[in-house]
Amino acid sequence: MSPRIELERVNKHFGPVHVINDVNLTVQEREFVVFLGQSGCGKTTTLRAIAGLETIDSGAIRIAGRAVQDTRPEERDIAFVFQSFALYPHLTVYENMAFPLRATRTPRDEVDRTVRRVAEVLQTSHLLKRRPSALSGGDLQRVAIGRALVRQPKAMLMDEPIGSLDAKLREEMRVELKRLHVEQGSTTIYVTHDQIEAMALADRIVVMHAGVLQQVGSPEEVYANPVNLFVAQFVGSPVMNVAEVSVTGQDGAARVTVAGAAEGFVFPAALIDRLSVAGAADKPLSLGIRPEALEITLAPQDGAIPVEAHLIEPLGSHDIVDLKMGPGFLRARTRAGLVPGPGTQVWVRADAGRAHFFDSGSGQSLGVRL
């Protein structure tokens, strides 16, 4: 039975720093929720608070409807996977995995059966007699997850469990984690600073910044409709282009001009009305546009503006091209090999349907979509 986990107005300070700022969140039964944010944003502290490893100053934490904020970690019946794995060096893999069961005085043959079954699932059966120091990073991680699984906990909390693995292994383990969650179905909260991991694993992503929840939503939603500049630039790789722009009406269309650039992108005229409805007519505006929403051609075409390609990053499946625009650059995603080299004159057009407009002052999205 996987429980629902609820946070209600949770606050915590470390000295003068407000690490968890009035956080409200409900994690549904069997849901996989990822806390995403930079280091120091409070995501790990929030996770540790749910586990009972940190106290909170105010608010309530409920696991399966029971308020647990004043109970000790051992009474909460949750499992925790640490970034450092925290496998005990003086115990064998078998003993490490059996350790949580020994706390509950489980009969010996049941301990043995459970450990072997979980080891089977995680393909670590051949490692049981070894000590953690003799294991590779991936195996350490499997054992650490195995130790969390043996107890069949109500909920799994994972603190960057694959953060210290190399890129290839991380990708493998990501798939394995997803498979495990589908099979075991325990309510899971997963902390990471890697937005790709978050997108790949999460049912819902919780973006945190400076102790405050910025946005909670499905990966698609967070990606397609970021509520503010922080989320817009944190989720997605390469990051969303953001530039201060001015919007003017011209020839029955709207011109969105990056500050300092000679020519502006052509947008439908409806943009001007919608911006004024959103109350942003006189405020400084920022345009946010993802690299894949910028379309590059080598020949002039309707509504495209001429720019110079600066740097090209060939990534195999596609290229990322830096375009000189005003004082800065916009990055565009093109098919591999489209732009032959730096200094090439190209034409760029923005996909109006995938453009975002933000209030430059507050950073909030204006919610204007075309």
Partner: protein, 319 residues
């Protein structure tokens, strides 16, 4: 291993080896000398120039263990013939073994002093290390108000040369009846070693990642259980190193033992030099007592040498 060495490197390497041999000889010479003396006949112990080659004998060790008194005349042939081998060694030295009315051999003061040393050093080491470990754990894992001040205060107990408090301690001990008791010495040595033990153990426990305990806590263990099941085994190296240092300090302590004890709880260090032979100090017996006294620490240190080597470099090794 560098495959190619320049002449300069070879020369420097040889110089290093030579100087190590010299240093080693200087360090070991006293031990060599005291060991040689322990096996010398009495008349060769204090010759000028010193005797280097001699036929070793065990009579000093026999004399060390039994109570003796001086013979007025030379032992007779019958006496020598009737005596077992070890008693003959004493008789040949011009002394006789003191026996009780029932004929049982009386031991000298040495075995009981040696036992006292063992009891006092072991108990005080166990106490200092266990209290030190718990205290260090507290300082390491919890926010203690004024932590730095407390730690400085603990260390400051080592800043005074211990001997300057010997007289006040003696008076206090006499007032509460702790003079010449095992408990008195144990308390003294425990207190003396505790500050050292706290500081050393704090260094070791700081090195143990907190996540180990966090993991145990969420796995359903209490903090106490986590301490015993995780922290203690992880700190084994530190505990061993601290124990060796504490044991050596307590084992070798001389000044307080001399002042605070005289018979019942006297330890070996003040007793050994008081070994009196016939008229003059018998240096061979003193040397024999010293050699035996060196053994426990040597064995203890040897058994824990691997831990010690790691312990010496604490902080340098990341697990």
């Amino acid at each position: 291993m560098a495959a190619v060495r320049t002449t300069g490197e070879v020369l420097r390497h040889r110089l290093a080896v030579v100087s190590l041999v010299v240093i080693l000889f200087v360090m070991l010479a006293p031990i060599l000398w005291i060991t040689a003396t322990a096996f010398k006949p009495r008349n060769l112990a204090t010759t000028v120039p010193p005797t280097v080659f001699f036929t070793p004998e065990v009579s000093p060790f026999v004399k060390l263990m039994v109570k003796r008194s001086q013979l007025r005349e030379k032992p007779t042939e019958e006496q020598l013939a009737a005596a077992p081998w070890w008693e003959r060694l004493v008789l040949e030295g011009g002394e006789k073994v003191v026996r009780s009315g029932k004929g049982a051999v009386q031991p000298s003061g040495y075995p009981s002093r040696f036992l006292n040393s063992l009891i006092v050093a072991t108990v005080s080491t166990v106490l200092a290390v266990s209290m030190g470990t718990i205290t260090a754990y507290g300082f390491s894992r919890f926010k203690v108000k004024g932590e730095d001040d407390w730690l400085f205060f603990i260390l400051s107990t080592r800043m005074l040369p211990p001997v300057v408090v010997a007289i006040p301690m003696f008076l206090m001990y006499r007032a509460v009846g702790l003079n010449d008791t095992h408990l008195g010495l144990i308390i003294l040595y425990t207190a003396f070693n505790l500050s050292f033990s706290v500081w050393l153990m704090k260094g070791f426990i700081d090195e143990i990642p907190k996540e180990y305990e966090d993991a145990a806590l969420v796995d359903g263990y209490t903090r106490m259980q986590a301490f015993f099941k995780i922290v203690l085994p992880e700190a084994a190296t530190g505990i061993a190193a601290t124990a060796v240092f504490c044991f050596i300090t307590a084992w070798n302590e001389y000044a307080f033992a001399l002042i605070m004890t005289n018979k019942r709880a006297q330890t070996a260090p003040p007793f050994i030099p008081s070994q009196i032979g016939s008229g003059l100090p018998d240096w061979t017996v003193i040397a024999a007592g010293t050699v035996l006294f060196l053994l426990p620490v040597a064995i203890f240190t040897f058994l824990l040498r691997n831990h010690l080597l790691r312990g010496m470099s604490f902080g340098a090794i990341r697990k």
